[in-house]
């Protein structure tokens, strides 16, 4: 028997004693009474409940939760990069070309548009605000795009632009939750969690669902937008940083070498294993798997998150500079992660909430600067995925939680110093590229001022259904049993936008 075995044995004994120690007479009496009750209840309810419904059985292998799994049908996309502009940029300055709105600039908004509507900040009668950007047609498809995104407009023939998205929420946090979890309230799993639950990860050394944030803040809805909800916690997004340690506490503490770390993790897992044998709680198995994953990630994550080794031409193309927490760095990382088999990369860039309350939040100043920071990296991502033969199997989604009003914001009913737009849930733009999406498509129309959808109305659920479809899932059949009923990402709605599929 080696030193280590002896040590482990002692540890197990200690754990056992600890449990015994906490087990008082009261526990014993309580458990005996409860046990009897449970036995009776169990026999009473044994015949009902969901244990028999094999069709909706959750496909969760606790011992190996991230093992790759087959999709329902051969999906075109293997992975997803979801680029979320937190705060919601104005569609009227970027994708939705509204020449009529320019003619109405400065006129008072007609009452008919305001009746029965609620706005976050607009009060009284606001004035209309014409588009602040110049629009031109681009590519063979002749897609309209603004000069705020000069690089991205060269890619229109690879993109499907959906100008008719609507949401149910006009405040950031609930709208972000709705976009990513299918519910405006907390507690549902995020899209990335659903996808890793359904498909597992192709790389056992990396998490299946990685989150990268930039812009100085996390999204308003907090970490719940990449939470796992009622799915096993192993499927929640792992937030990585492009500055400093990629994952907090990923380095071994001073004085602890890798062998010792391995030995301690093995010992902890032994104790956990023993607990599992006793209680049979599958969460314990996932905990064991997570410890092992964390150990492997200590090597693999710093490696994949290191962009120093990328050639200068790549840095030039993406506009990256290693070591900062920038959107460009995150985009380059997203490509690297996808290349390494990560299933779902979720990017959030904060600071797109252009209310016009400062120059940095003006649609004709701050928005331009913000666009310049993302235009090049996003374009580089599409080009780079393409030249690496990965665009076909990587679905890139760009979007936000809602859009902006064609009216100029008048906070407290007064004219503001800078030009801004208020939150608008009734019409905004999301685009997709790669992963079996048709290029050069503009889908859906809004009225001539971009206020509401005229044709091709697309709900948030439709976006989610389409993403799942591209990965090989029928969103109506992809469910998880929780609290006695099956749940789906798209709740009771959603239809695949077949017009944008290749």
């Amino acid at each position: 028997m080696t030193q280590q075995d002896l040590h482990n044995q002692r540890l197990l004994k200690e754990a056992e004693q600890k449990v015994m120690h906490q087990h008082t007479r009261r526990h014993f009496i309580k458990e005996s009474a409860m046990g009897l009750g449970a036995l009776a209840l169990g026999s009473m309810f044994g015949s009902c409940g969901n244990s028999s419904s094999s069709t909706t059985a959750n496909l969760f292998d606790a011992a190996n939760p991230l093992a790759p799994k087959a999709p329902m049908f051969p999906g075109k996309a293997k992975s997803v990069i979801f680029i979320h502009m937190a705060g919601a940029p104005s569609q009227l300055e970027l994708f939705s070309y509204k020449p009529e709105l320019a003619k109405l600039d400065g006129l008072e908004c007609p009452q008919s548009l305001l009746e029965g509507k609620k706005f976050a900040f607009i009060r009284g009668v606001p004035k209309m605000l014409g588009p602040q950007a110049n629009f031109r047609q681009h590519g063979q498809s002749g897609t309209w795009m603004s000069d705020y995104l000069p690089h991205l407009s060269t890619m229109v023939d690879d993109m499907a632009i959906i100008n008719s998205v609507t949401t149910e929420q006009f405040n950031h946090a609930p709208a972000q939750l709705l976009m990513h979890t299918g519910s405006a309230r907390l507690g549902r799993p995020s899209m990335g969690s659903w996808v890793t639950y359904g498909l597992g990860s192709e790389n056992k050394n990396l998490p299946g669902f990685v989150v990268l944030t930039s812009g100085g803040n996390n999204p308003d809805a907090g970490k719940s937008v990449w939470g796992s909800g009622f799915l096993p916690s192993v499927y929640q997004g792992v937030q990585c940083r492009s500055e400093g340690d990629p994952v907090l506490f990923i380095k071994d503490p001073a004085g602890m070498d890798r062998d010792l770390r391995k030995a301690s993790i093995d010992a902890i897992n032994k104790v956990n294993q023993q607990q599992y044998e006793e209680y049979k709680d599958p969460e314990i198995l996932s905990r064991i798997a997570q410890y092992e994953m964390a150990y492997k990630m200590q090597i693999s994550v710093p490696d994949v998150m290191n962009i120093n080794d990328e050639p200068a031409a790549m840095h030039e193309m993406y506009g990256t500079s290693p070591g900062e927490a920038s959107f460009a760095n995150n985009i380059l990382l997203a490509r690297k992660l996808v290349e390494k088999g990560v299933r779902f990369v979720q990017l959030f860039d904060w600071g797109w909430d252009m209310h016009g309350d400062s120059s940095g939040n003006a649609v004709n100043i701050g928005l331009v600067n913000k666009c310049r920071k993302v235009d090049k990296p996003i374009t580089a991502l599409l080009l780079d995925l393409k030249q690496r033969g990965l665009l076909d199997e990587t679905l890139v989604v760009w979007g936000a939680e809602f859009g902006r009003t064609p009216m100029r914001e008048n906070r407290e009913g007064k004219e503001m110093l800078f030009k801004g737009r208020d939150h608008h849930a009734e019409a905004f733009t999301i685009w997709m590229a790669g992963g079996g999406i048709k290029g050069g498509v503009t889908y859906g129309e809004t009225d001539e001022i971009g206020y509401s959808v005229v044709s091709g109305k697309t709900e948030v659920y439709d976006i989610q259904a389409t993403i799942l479809n591209q990965l090989g899932f029928n969103h109506e059949q992809f469910t998880y049993e929780s609290q006695g009923r099956p749940f789906r990402l798209t709740d009771v709605s959603g239809k695949v936008i077949t017009d944008i599929l290749a």
């Binding site: 087959a70 051969p74 075109k76 193309m317 390494k340 100043i365 033969g389 479809n469 029928n474």
Partner: protein, 469 residues
């Protein structure tokens, strides 16, 4: 005119029948209750209810007979219902007269009458709501509701009529043109009936889609009165209609398998979608083979998994496999031997960033089902690439970041299906790239020439609004 009016009377049957049912059951109830001392006073009511119930039963018989001649209903069920209905009327008459004469046998005839009313009512219900109406919620098959068809497991091997066409008809048409109802005297639940047609004549002309009324009705706009199924009923999907058209076009055959028929390009994605049950064919029909294979060797798959290879089916109901070595450090000959055991199943293989060498490519060349092969950033050379000539199904080849030259890639010229080639950061540049394009004239070739224009504005941060004319 008179005939029309009589037909019109027939439509009152479903309303009228409820009167005798209610009244006669009430008569039974009165009879039962009046046996006790407390309710003795109900006795005279028995005769009254029997009388009105009798009139109702006779009226129901007459209207029912008229309705049955319309031919919209299933013959067998109708005739049983009819016989029972007439019996009810007769027994009621008998019960009424016995009761009038205060004959003690009256109570037995009333009991018989009640029993017959229940049976007849049930039979009538079966005709309108379907014979499984009462029990369908108890039966194990309750999940198989209309329009939820199971995907076909193996489309090419499937019998075109029995496994593809019939389920479409069953879930969309049998309701009105099946065993229980035959609207317009048309039945679609049997080949003979289908070919016979309905009261408007033949509905299918084998090989002639344009003449076939069935297809015409399906294709009429929803607003058209003659459109089928009626607009309030669930509609056929585009794929369903496409398949029916294809079936009629090829002779409306009832016996052959799908693979026996010519499959033009427009039908391939439709068949594939029906096989997998997806909403729209997300995969172009060439990227996963249409034919099915047997399951791969479980043992080999398990062993590869133990090695850290990510290997799994490309879809839940498919035996084709995808394998990724992204988390495996070194690739060994034993790994390759295991892959070889799965050569019929393996269609996608990712070996990027591994230490695969030219010698090992010889084994890769035996994996002849491969359609996608990733060899990016590996040490392979032109010498090894020549073995891949054997991969006749290959559509996608990724050799970015390798030393492959134009000579090496030229060896794959004869791979007719190869239509995506990625050669970024390889030995193929400039002139060679143009040569390569002429070698693979129809393929998409990317040598990574992607570049972005330099724009002055990229690095400038503005403080003033930019000018908009």
């Amino acid at each position: 005119m008179i005939v029309l009016f009589i037909d019109f009377l027939g439509y009152f049957h479903p309303v009228l029948v409820h009167l005798p049912i209610g009244i006669l059951l009430l008569a039974g109830l009165f009879q039962f209750m009046s046996r006790s001392e407390k309710y003795k006073s109900l006795k005279p009511a028995i005769g009254i209810s029997l009388f009105w119930g009798m009139l109702g039963a006779i009226a129901s018989c007459i209207t029912g007979f008229i309705l049955s001649r319309s031919g919209d209903y299933d013959g067998d069920l109708i005739s049983t219902h009819q016989r029972f209905g007439i019996t009810v009327a007769i027994v009621t008459i008998v019960a009424y007269s016995l009761n009038k004469k205060n004959n003690p046998a009256a109570q037995w005839s009333i009991a018989l009458m009640v029993l017959l009313v229940i049976i007849t009512g049930h039979l009538g219900g079966s005709i309108t709501h379907g014979s499984d109406y009462l029990t369908k919620n108890f039966s194990l098959k309750k999940d198989e509701v209309a329009n939820k068809r199971k995907p076909v497991a193996n489309m090419q091997e499937a019998l075109l009529y029995h496994e593809v066409v019939q389920p479409i008809l069953e879930s969309n048409c049998y309701g009105c043109h099946g065993p229980n109802k035959q609207k317009s005297k048309l039945r679609l639940d049997d080949p003979d009936f289908i070919m016979k047609g309905g009261k408007n004549g033949t509905i299918i002309f084998a090989g002639n889609v344009d003449k076939s009324k069935m297809i015409e009705r399906l294709l009429l706009p929803l607003s058209d009165e003659d459109h089928m199924p009626p607009k309030e009923k669930p509609q056929l999907s585009k794929n369903d209609i496409e398949v029916l058209k294809w079936w009629v076009e090829n002779g409306a055959d009832f016996h052959k398998q799908v693979k026996d028929f010519p499959q033009p390009d427009r039908i391939k994605p439709v068949l594939l979608a029906m096989q997998s049950g997806e909403q729209k064919s997300a995969v172009s029909p060439t990227s996963i083979p249409l034919t099915n294979v047997n399951a791969g060797d479980k043992n080999a798959i398990e062993k590869l998994k133990e090695r850290g290879v990510s290997i799994f089916s490309v879809a839940q109901n498919s035996n084709y496999l995808s394998a990724t070595f992204v988390a495996v450090d070194g690739i060994t000959q034993s790994d390759l031997n295991l892959l070889e055991q799965l050569r019929d199943q393996l269609i996608w293989l990712k070996l990027g960033d591994t230490k695969i060498n030219d010698e090992q490519l010889k084994t890769i060349a035996k994996l002849t089902a491969l359609t996608k092969l990733y060899l990016e950033r590996t040490g392979i050379t032109d010498n090894g690439l020549q073995h891949l000539k054997a991969l006749s199904q290959l559509q996608y080849l990724n050799v970015i970041g390798t030393n492959i030259s134009i000579k090496g890639i030229g060896q794959l010229k004869q791979l007719k299906k190869l239509d995506q080639l990625y050669v970024f950061q390889s030995g193929i540049t400039g002139n060679d790239f143009r040569k390569m394009q002429s070698m693979f004239p129809t393929a998409l070739i990317d040598n990574g020439s992607a570049s972005m224009a330099f724009l002055q504005s990229d690095t400038v941060v503005i403080n003033e609004p930019i000018f908009v004319p």
